[in-house]
């Protein structure tokens, strides 16, 4: 079953379309990265998923149940934890009181016992009794994540969770999300930090102009256009050998190396074998993968034109 899904989900304001017929399916237990430039419709999509914004068309589903906007709350939200843009906190209450007030306001009661546990998880135990007014941005962000984790959620929807954290803090939160995902929690995380998504997500969806323009595992997204950097003793002869292979493009690389682009179905070991058979000594054969950032930029540019 999908933990989270949308079917033809659309939102427009007047004649401006923010999200257009979006079909998402995130299986249970997946750590899903939701990428897109600012204004791509990520936040609107997340708000529709959580029943805050009414779709113009289509529907959103959490754990197989429809999410509706109306007088009463969709009960399924009990099993969902969320961070939507910045954390929302009462500045005049302490960190612990913020969690307490949110927990007591509605939803499951068993959350109360988890307050100390989630404060510990996000590393805020020491500052828990300080007023939130005195918190740094990083501490506010941690408290926001603590709040999302409070209900032992089956699904976590996090919008830019590492916003405002320093690099060790980001690493810590990424590790936490990875552990939660390994424990079976479905994590849906939006980000504009590509290395972050690349480092932690099982699957990635790229949103641009309100449409899903690409989806797959990070390596699937990166795969087309993979390069090899080859260092040999005789670059000229090696270039000749490789140029004769079908589906291979050869360019001169830096410092006498060769930059080779492989077509579909060609394995780097095949290239190596051909070179060695031709009596060329191969010093190094290094796959140079495109970063997700390059892929991302190419996709965005492609979708704009």
């Amino acid at each position: 079953m999908n933990a989270l899904a949308t079917h033809g989900l659309s939102k427009s304001y007047g004649d401006q379309t923010v999200v257009a017929e979006l079909d998402l399916a995130v299986p249970k237990g997946t750590l899903y990265g939701f990428l897109g430039p600012n204004g791509a419709g990520k936040t609107t999509t997340i708000r529709m998923l959580l029943g805050l914004v009414k779709p113009s068309a289509g529907r959103a589903e959490l754990l197989g149940q429809d999410v509706n906007v109306g007088a009463s709350a969709p009960g399924v939200l009990d099993k969902v934890g969320a961070l939507i843009e910045e954390p929302g906190l009462w500045p005049y209450l302490s960190g612990r009181s913020n969690l307490l007030c949110m927990a007591r306001s509605g939803g499951k009661d068993e959350r109360l016992g988890r307050i100390d546990e989630v404060l510990e998880l996000v590393g805020l135990s020491c500052a828990a009794s300080k007023r939130v007014k005195a918190y740094s941005q990083g501490m506010r962000q941690r408290l926001g994540i603590a709040l999302a984790l409070l209900g032992s959620p089956e699904v976590l929807v996090l919008d830019e969770p590492t916003n405002g954290l320093d690099p060790p803090g980001m690493r810590e939160i990424r590790g936490l999300l990875r552990r939660l995902s390994d424990d079976g929690v479905t994590v849906f995380v939006s980000s504009h930090l590509l290395f972050e998504v690349e480092a932690m997500c099982d699957r990635v969806g790229v949103l641009a102009g309100g449409r899903l323009i690409a989806e797959g595992t990070p390596s699937e997204l990166r795969a087309p256009g993979e390069h090899l950097r080859i260092e040999v003793d005789d670059a000229a002869r090696a270039g000749g050998v490789l140029a004769a292979l079908r589906g291979v493009e050869v360019e001169a690389g830096d410092e006498g190396s060769l930059r080779v682009t492989l077509g579909d179905g060609l394995d780097p070991s095949e290239v190596n074998r051909k070179l060695v058979e031709a009596g060329i000594a191969v010093r190094a054969l290094v796959p140079e993968r495109r970063s997700l950032e390059e892929v991302f930029m190419a996709l965005i540019e492609g979708s704009n034109s």
């Binding site: 708000r47 805050l52 914004v53 009463s72 949110m102």
Partner: protein, 268 residues
Amino acid sequence: MFWVELFKAARRWRTWLLGAALGGIPIILVISLLLSPGSGSSGEDGPPFYELIVRNGFFTPLAALGALQVFLLPLDASLLSGDAVAGEAATGTLRYLLVRPVGRLRLILSKYAAAVVLITLLILWVTIVGLVAGGAAYGWGPMPTLSGSTLSPGAALLRIGAAACYIATGMGALAAVGVFASTLSDSAPGASVATVALAIVSQILESLSALAPIHTFLISERWLAFVDLFRDPIVWGEMAEGLVAHALYAAVFVALAGAILAHKDVMS
């Protein structure tokens, strides 16, 4: 959620400042009268308690409430109710409450109930401070009524309590308008100002006799009817009308607030 609202209010300086400011009014009233024992009368439009205040400590809370009801109590009711939804929107907590999940209708009802309880507590607080300050200055002798008879201290306390509760219903009606305004705006001060403006405009229109035909629909029209509790026998007519009018105002505006929030895209 209702109890959480009261807990949050108790943790805010604002609530205690309001209490201190309102509690100060009857004390100032008593002190100023003690300092100028000759004058005990007020302007033409004020409730007729000022003339009586020097005679009896039971009148101090009523004089204080009568003075506060013109502006300060509506201001506080607007402040507390205008904050209901817009204040949560401004701190960004509204979206988190809704995904907790708290039902949207339940959120409105809890917020409204908490605002009414807080306003009622503030009114009772003014009443108690007034009783203590007035009693300390003038004693609690038998209370004269506007009809000339006197009330035993027990009966006087009962009627003062009833007056405070009646005033609270009027402020409750205004708070419903405040909660409604609060669903229309993401700015709590904006919603509060609109609400207190309504209370002021209503009182101005009320004073224009040319507009007499519409007076019955004005929110503040029956706010002063509690004076009738201090006639002998009590005149119930206008207060009964007032209770119905306040209940109608509350029901209509809370329902509107619920309907608006239930269909609103929460973008805050």
